[in-house]
Amino acid sequence: MFKKTLWLSLALALGMVLTAQAKEWKTVRIGTEGAYPPWNATDANGNLVGAEIDLGRELCKRMQVECTFVAQDWDGIIPALQQGKYDAIIAGMSITPERQEVINFSQGYMTDGASFITAKGSDLDSSSFPEKINLDRMSANEKAAIDRLVEVLDGKTIGVQSATIHANFVEKYLTGSTMRTYQTQDDLNLDMASGRIDAALADTGAFEEFLESDSGQSLTFAGPRMSGDVFGAGVGIGLRKSDTDLLGLFNKAIDSVRADGTLSRISNQWFGKDISM
């Protein structure tokens, strides 16, 4: 009996020593899919490439840890994190409430965001705004910009697709504007082109093609590219719930790559535009 207890306590003590060592984070293993360009993909030599591979390396450099990437099939990507096959998921994973029930997320680092389009030369087009605003993390300057946006659009008619996050935004922020809802993005685009509404709000990517087309020639993007709050928290790094220290490290590193423009540079390099947030 005594022997058994002795062994058990020895095992426990050893276990504690090992766990304590593991928490210093000298190396971080990052799981990714490797088949989702330009976020993360594999080149013909079998090397992982993409915006998130560059981002991951940069974050690790700033966290002063050594990084290794592990390719994992998307279907098993969260279970394998929880098992400990790797310590973080950087795989174009959107932060959603369902996923947040099982894993933690860092702050969002990229999202396409939502944008307004309007007729060239309209009030909205002629006022100046910051390029992008994360509604979850606004500086005084950006708060003022949103107030200005509300003011410019006061009394105007805004078109959105019905039952979307964009409709939620108009309802929550643009209380002085009239909202007109459409069943499809195409209907929205058509009414915008014919001038029946003053501005349209949707995912930035949803407007890009339309603005290039013939009927979109008189229109332009205006106002800030928005993310956060009703628009969702974007794409973040998935982490085990227990690794709160690693979460802190990643959040700090993301702050740092955002502040010095590295995040925008990586985005421009891989996406041809800035989708950092």
């Binding site: 490797g34 088949a35 098993g76």
Partner: protein, 233 residues
């Protein structure tokens, strides 16, 4: 087509390597499955009652649930089990069980369940009169086993095992979920990265067909060889 080139700019060499990986997993799984099948066929035919129940349970369970489910169970559950056992001995942290080993065990277990029934049927098909004759002339048990039973069982099991081989070969596609770079996973990664799914999935289909049709010819030859002494009608 240049996407399939060999060398640093094409996926040809990667696809070929992945095909070899598929072949390696299949061969190891079939070997494991044959060992399991032989043991369990023996248990089912003349083992103690408790073992017989267990063997019946195994074949019913494995043949009755989807293969993908077994692979998920082993991949996520198996790793957890290994770590749990290790944690009892005081080892904390992650232990990587190689995806290759998990794949072979998973597909081998599936293949074993089917082989069991094939081998059991083949043993039962060996004419009883021959065994009785061997007993009558006083042949020792081991000689009876190696000279009479095994050669004839092998001959009779060969067509059925050919079927099991083809199933096993295709089941390996399912272990792509573990991240092991076999043919299916490589085709998925390449088609996603190059954005040309049709090209890479059809290439994978052709490579699978190469494997199955070549091995089919091998089995036909083996059957002809094994049947060389048997009566033709």
């Amino acid at each position: 087509m240049e996407k399939l080139a060999f060398g640093p700019n094409g996926w040809g060499d990667e696809m070929l390597l992945a095909m070899l990986m598929t072949l390696a997993v299949s061969v190891c799984s079939l070997l494991l499955g044959t060992v399991i099948g032989t043991l369990l066929a023996w248990v089912k035919l003349s083992g103690p009652r408790v073992l017989r129940w267990l063997a019946n349970g195994y074949t019913t369970l494995i043949r009755g649930v989807p293969e993908l489910l077994i692979i998920y169970l082993l991949f996520f559950g198996g790793n957890g089990a290994v770590m749990f056992v290790a944690s009892i001995f005081g080892h904390e942290g992650y232990i990587e069980v190689p995806a290759f080993a998990i794949g072979v065990v998973a597909v081998g277990l599936i293949s074993g369940a089917y082989s069991t029934e094939v081998i059991r049927g083949a043993v039962q098909a060996v004419s009883k009169g021959q065994l009785e004759a061997a007993h009558a002339i006083g042949m020792p048990r081991m000689t009876l086993f190696s000279r009479v039973l095994v050669p004839q069982t092998a001959r009779l099991a060969l067509p059925g095992m050919g079927n099991v081989w083809q199933l096993t070969l295709k089941d390996t596609a399912l272990i792509s979920v573990t991240g092991l770079v076999e043919l299916m996973r490589q085709a998925y990664v390449a088609s996603g990265s190059e954005r040309s799914p049709f090209l890479f999935y059809s290439t994978a289909a052709v490579l699978f067909l190469v494997l199955t049709s070549l091995s089919e010819r091998g089995f036909v030859r083996a059957e002809r060889w094994a049947n060389r002494g048997a009566s033709r009608t």
